[in-house]
């Protein structure tokens, strides 16, 4: 049971609204997003329920839900939302807040998703571009799942599907600098 009325002002709602540019209060719980969302079945709480949790100010529970990690930003929900709420932006806002405030959902799936993105971003930082084979290899090593997708590897390699290397960007330095400046901006917001 959740006891309401003891939390005072709903700062979570204000934080999410500010960060997303959406107004979660506009949600009237019709559920059109849930039937639309391709991954709602994998979420702890589908989009409609996340909206309600934000309205109730359930910060902790929203952060720890896997929903915002599963959101693919496919924008199908917002395209159908009768109140035109930018639901992907809301999901993104919850995720960014959770990252900033260091809330870590340590389920295997979320860890893997997060790891993937971290590896990806680290690689872009280093090369300026994506290096797919290395990406997959590193992901498998970091998630201790060495043989994942290995059955695809020979065929893909043979068919030239996945290149063996990547041309590092000439101005790799500029990218590194961009990362640092962007990080600084993030902190100074």
């Amino acid at each position: 049971m959740i006891t309401l009325g003891t939390q005072g002002k709903n700062t979570f709602l204000a934080d999410v609204n500010k960060k997303s540019g959406a107004n979660v209060l506009e949600c009237y719980q019709c559920g059109k997003c849930v039937g639309t969302c391709p991954v709602s079945q994998y979420m702890d709480f589908p989009p409609r329920e996340i909206m309600q949790m934000i309205k109730l100010g359930l910060r902790n529970e929203s952060y720890m839900a896997n929903s915002h990690w599963f959101c693919l930003t496919c924008s199908a929900c917002s395209g159908r939302c009768p109140r035109e709420i930018d639901i992907p932006a809301v999901m993104e806002a919850v995720r960014h807040l959770a990252i900033e405030e260091n809330y870590i959902n340590d389920s295997t799936k979320v860890k893997e998703i997060r790891k993937f993105h971290e590896i990806f971003l680290a690689m872009i930082k280093r090369y300026g571009r994506n290096y797919e084979l290395r990406m997959m290899a590193e992901f498998n090593i970091r998630t201790r799942n060495l043989f994942k997708d290995m059955h695809l590897a020979p065929k893909a390699l043979l068919k030239g599907k996945i290149p063996l290397g990547v041309k590092p960007l000439k101005s790799a330095k500029a990218i590194k600098r961009m990362y640092e400046l962007a990080e600084k901006l993030e902190k100074n917001k």
Partner: protein
């Protein structure tokens, strides 16, 4: 001759090399010259916006700033993910000059963002700038007999207020182009359902499920093949197809073409230039529907040269 600024995207040199090279064949026929953005960088899709806000804008902005130094006013993007990140950044920057100024500080060495270059997906470029009729006029080998399900995915037409192109629910641009090539576009209700996109590596189970539904609906529509304009969709539907078949216990055997491969074929390019051997699902069965064509080679003619990979795993 028309000129167009080109952003190939990382996968053009990897998983979607066949998209890139057949696009170039098609544009040659259409008399369009591509000008690569010099020293372009990854757009950040799909990880940057997941993890952080500013970087997700900064990475595309660098490309936009570099593109503004060229003379062309339009940038064509092959990859749908890259297109979306670039377009989102452009729209948000143009709407909010203050934000643009702030993000610009991260790439200030490259120049000042002005917002002078428009961003289009190649599909949009074909549809709006080239035109279905021009495409029809270039056809020398009709694809009559081939039934295709045009699959757009999430990113080419959504969100509507960003892309301002075609319909987010039932788009028709690719269908019309395919019809202009002589093929028949089937009534396909999963045109814009998500294939699982970036979960290909980190959450394969989701991709198998979502892409599996798309394959089933494409088959249900009576299509011989699926046509796409997005590398991520192509790899999820093609490369993962054997796994999906195994999981569902069904045989789809439905090849997944890039729209440019079909265009290049219809424009009379030799079959051995269309990179069909790169497909995981064989294409011969589907192509048999258009009558006699040159045999599809079995091997990639020239394997892609591996470029020195530097650095080591930490």
């Amino acid at each position: 001759m028309k000129k167009l600024t080109y952003f190939p995207g990382c996968s053009a040199h990897g998983t979607s090399e066949e998209f890139d090279s057949t696009l170039k064949l098609v544009l040659k026929t259409l008399d369009v010259e591509l000008e690569d953005i010099p020293d372009w960088n990854c757009c950040g899709a799909t990880s940057a916006h997941v993890m952080t806000e500013n970087l997700a804008y900064a990475l595309p902005m660098r490309n936009l700033v570099l593109a503004e130094k060229l003379e062309n006013t339009t940038m064509g993007i092959a990859c749908a993910s890259c297109y979306q990140r670039m377009k989102v950044t452009k729209v948000h920057m143009d709407e909010n000059p203050e934000l643009a100024q702030r993000i610009n500080t991260t790439v200030v060495e490259e120049g000042t963002y002005k917002g002078t270059v428009d961003v289009k997906s190649m599909l949009q470029y074909f549809y709006e700038d080239i035109g279905v009729e021009t495409i029809r006029g270039k056809v020398t080998k009709s694809l009559a007999g081939l039934k295709v399900a045009c699959y757009y995915g999430c990113l080419l037409t959504r969100p509507k207020n960003i892309t301002k192109f075609d319909s987010p629910e039932y788009p028709v641009s690719m269908d019309q182009i395919c019809e202009a090539l002589g093929a028949t576009a089937t009534e396909f209700d999963y045109k814009t359902e998500c294939c699982g996109a970036s979960f290909s590596i980190s959450n394969t189970e989701v991709v198998l499920n979502l892409s599996g539904q798309i394959l089933a609906m494409a088959k249900e529509s009576g299509a011989h093949a699926i046509v796409v304009a997005c590398p991520l969709c192509q790899s999820n539907l093609d490369m993962r197809q054997p796994d999906i078949e195994k999981q569902q216990g069904v045989k789809y055997d439905i090849p997944v073409f890039y729209i440019t491969q079909l265009m290049a074929l219809a424009f009379g390019n030799p079959v051995d230039q269309l990179k069909f051997p790169k497909h995981i699902v064989p294409v011969e069965g589907a192509l048999a529907n258009i009558g006699k064509i040159d045999p599809v080679p079995q091997k990639v003619k020239k394997p892609i040269k591996a470029v020195e990979a530097e650095s080591e795993v930490e």
